[in-house]
């Protein structure tokens, strides 16, 4: 009996050890594999006037596919419906008819063949990635330039070109001039400075490798891959980049030598957004964050139409469109984002607040639209004076009290970004639920027409300018917002 009991204990210990070992191994493998997987995730980036967006690319039968509706949705008024084996797409005034498992479609009255079959999955239409170059010009009725290898597609004349010229001053400086403002992610490592352009429609120079007759900055290379354009500047010494001319000029120069002093720890490789300025470098948002950094709340929905902006245009539709664009802007900056409604449904205000508080984001952005006035109005909560919520429980109606200074700082930062973009902006407090019920920094953005014409609200370029301003401002104040729960 004693023998068998000790044997059982030994087996139990071995089993426990093996389970622990298995868990540790699984954890190590997960840590090792997940970032590689996410880095290798295939994307296509579509650049169009006023908007840039990224879409996932999936593999089917050894071929790369992409959702067709998603590819054109941000570019105009789009709807799709399934009719038996047919999938009908309406883009602005043109209709296209695709048939499941066929490689022929009828687009704006013309039959078209494309490589690979059209796939219909859960009412979602997928087309072979390589077919976008032939399908989209006809669907959009616009010129399209597509590089399927680097997965970058340009609609219309949106390309940004650049020139690079070495100025042989002391120290030497490499001046890179762009035809439009750029905002690359910059990574420095020994011997090189790498600029990744994820949102800019940058196109290749005449030759992919540029050489300069200088030891400090001998060469630069241009590369495109997985929707990203990358310029790598090789240096004999550590290099730094600075921006000027409203983001149209980047100057690369050797890092000034430190005067002799106490020994310092070696600087680690940096990976900073380009908006970084010395002494105010925002931390990169951790890619493996376990919570949503931002919550976007497209107000109204379902039977709550919000403001009747025109006979056919409701506030709920504009807020949803803005929310989708804002999510793309946040995610293109590596900010994990939750959208409280992604379809035409009515979510009660209390539920919006509860969902947000449960997600513990760092920032909440409510989106509204208006027909009166011009530009953008930013709101923070209007709370009773002298209320304190310092105990373990907070009053529902005044839950925002402790976070109000952070919310106001976020609103001011977004306002400053809009001013930089020459958009009329006004900052106010407002009795607007659920702002007062939130335990995170919270702002509401009410978008009015830019020129007073309500049609502005549906313009992709205007919407994109607004959401890009919000995302830029919030990404740039990550350090300030990071202190919020």
């Amino acid at each position: 009996m004693g023998f068998s009991r000790s044997n059982a204990f030994r087996r139990l210990r071995l089993w426990a050890r093996s389970r622990t070992a298995t868990r540790v191994l699984a954890l190590v493998l997960t840590i090792a594999i997940v970032p590689l997987h996410s880095a290798d995730e295939k994307h296509i980036v579509i650049y169009a006037p006023g908007t840039t967006f990224s879409l996932p690319v999936t593999d089917r039968d050894g071929r790369e596919y992409v959702g067709l509706l998603e590819s054109v949705e941000p570019l105009g008024t789009v709807s799709a419906r399934v009719d038996g084996t047919h999938w009908k797409l309406r883009y602005n005034d043109g209709e296209s008819d695709f048939t499941a498992s066929r490689n022929r479609a009828r687009v704006r009255g013309h039959d078209m063949d494309f490589p690979g079959n059209f796939l219909l999955e859960n009412n979602r239409g997928l087309v072979p990635l390589v077919s976008l170059g032939t399908l989209l010009p006809r669907i959009l009725n616009a010129s399209v330039s597509f590089n399927p290898v680097s997965r970058r597609l340009f609609v219309g004349n949106v390309a940004t070109h650049f020139t690079a010229q070495l100025s042989k001053t002391t120290p030497p400086r490499l001046l890179m001039n762009f035809t439009a403002p750029v905002n690359p992610t910059i990574a420095t490592e020994p011997g090189r400075l790498r600029m990744s352009f994820t949102r800019e429609p940058l196109v290749a120079p005449g030759t992919p490798t540029l050489t300069f007759d200088d030891k400090s900055i001998p060469s630069a290379t241009y590369l495109e891959n997985n929707g990203v354009a990358e310029i790598t500047v090789n240096g004999g010494t550590p290099l730094m980049a600075s921006f000027s001319n409203d983001g149209r000029t980047i100057t690369i120069a050797p890092v000034p030598q430190q005067p002799p002093g106490p020994p310092q720890a070696p600087a680690p490789a940096q990976n900073l957004p380009s908006a970084a300025v010395p002494g105010n470098a925002p931390k990169a948002v951790p890619a493996n964050a376990t919570h949503y950094y931002a919550v976007i709340d497209p107000s109204h929905g379902g039977d709550d139409r919000g403001v009747a902006l025109s006979d056919s245009l409701a506030e709920k539709d504009i807020t949803l469109s803005l929310a989708r664009r804002l999510r793309q802007e946040f995610e293109s900056r590596g900010i994990p984002t939750l959208v409280l409604r992604d379809s035409d449904v009515n979510v009660p205000l209390d539920e919006r607040a509860a969902q947000t508080n449960t997600a513990h984001p760092t920032i909440y952005v409510a989106l509204h639209a208006a027909s009166d006035g011009k530009g953008v109005r930013l709101y923070t909560a209007l709370l009773p004076s002298g209320v304190e919520n310092n105990g373990p429980f907070v009053a529902w109606d005044t839950a925002q009290t402790r976070l109000l200074p952070t919310s106001k700082a976020a609103a001011q930062n977004v306002a400053a970004e809009f001013q930089r973009r020459q958009l009329p902006v006004r900052t106010l407090q407002a009795p607007l639920r659920p702002l007062n019920n939130l335990t995170t920094a919270a702002i509401a953005v009410e978008v009015a027409p830019a020129s007073g014409d309500v049609a502005d609200l549906t313009q992709p370029a205007y919407q994109q300018n607004v959401v890009s301003g919000i995302a830029t401002a919030i990404a740039s104040m990550h350090n300030q917002l990071g202190g919020a729960p």
Binding site: H300, D304, G306, V307, A308, E315, L349, H368, A370, S371, D372, G373, R377, Y379, L382, L383, P384, S385, G386, D397, R426, L428, Q429, A430, P431, L432, R433, N436, A444, E446
Partner: protein, 195 residues
Amino acid sequence: MIPRHLQIAFGILLLAVLGMGFYVGRIRGRAQQAEPAADSRPVAPPAPGPTERVTLYVANDAGGILRAQAASIPLPYARQQRAEELLRALLDIYLGKDSPHPLAVGSEVRAVYLVDPGLVVIDLNAAFANGHRSGVLEEELTVTSIIQTLAANIPDILRVKFLVEGKERDTLAGHADLSTMYDTIAVSQLVAQMQ
């Protein structure tokens, strides 16, 4: 034999009862005569006090602002009636021909109650809320205009609560919160930003 003093007391009481009966009869007769005459006359307006100079906070949609506007209106002495007269004067501007902040036709304040020291309850009619234009700023201008007009002219108002047709309502027209009480100090600070 009944003592003499009891006979005198009984006599006095009898006279008093007869006198009271006669008096009640006269009063009742007068009341019956007065009633039909009162019904036939229009209800007299509340007795106004002297005309007073007040400050109305008038919303202006053009700039999205509130403007302090001086006005002279007859105000009763009672605080509750003063509040009603102030809001009546404000709504007259909003319902007028060249309104800077138009309200729906038929918009009215049904009643204003001073139910607690510092608390005012404003009961709006359904036309006011159901016909109000939707929008964060439009609704905010209406709410702050009403609250600030009361707070600026009637001392010791600390909180304001809105009802619609005597019932609670979530928002005025989809945006401005009507579910909670407004703190007049916070609203005053906001109004300073909106001027």
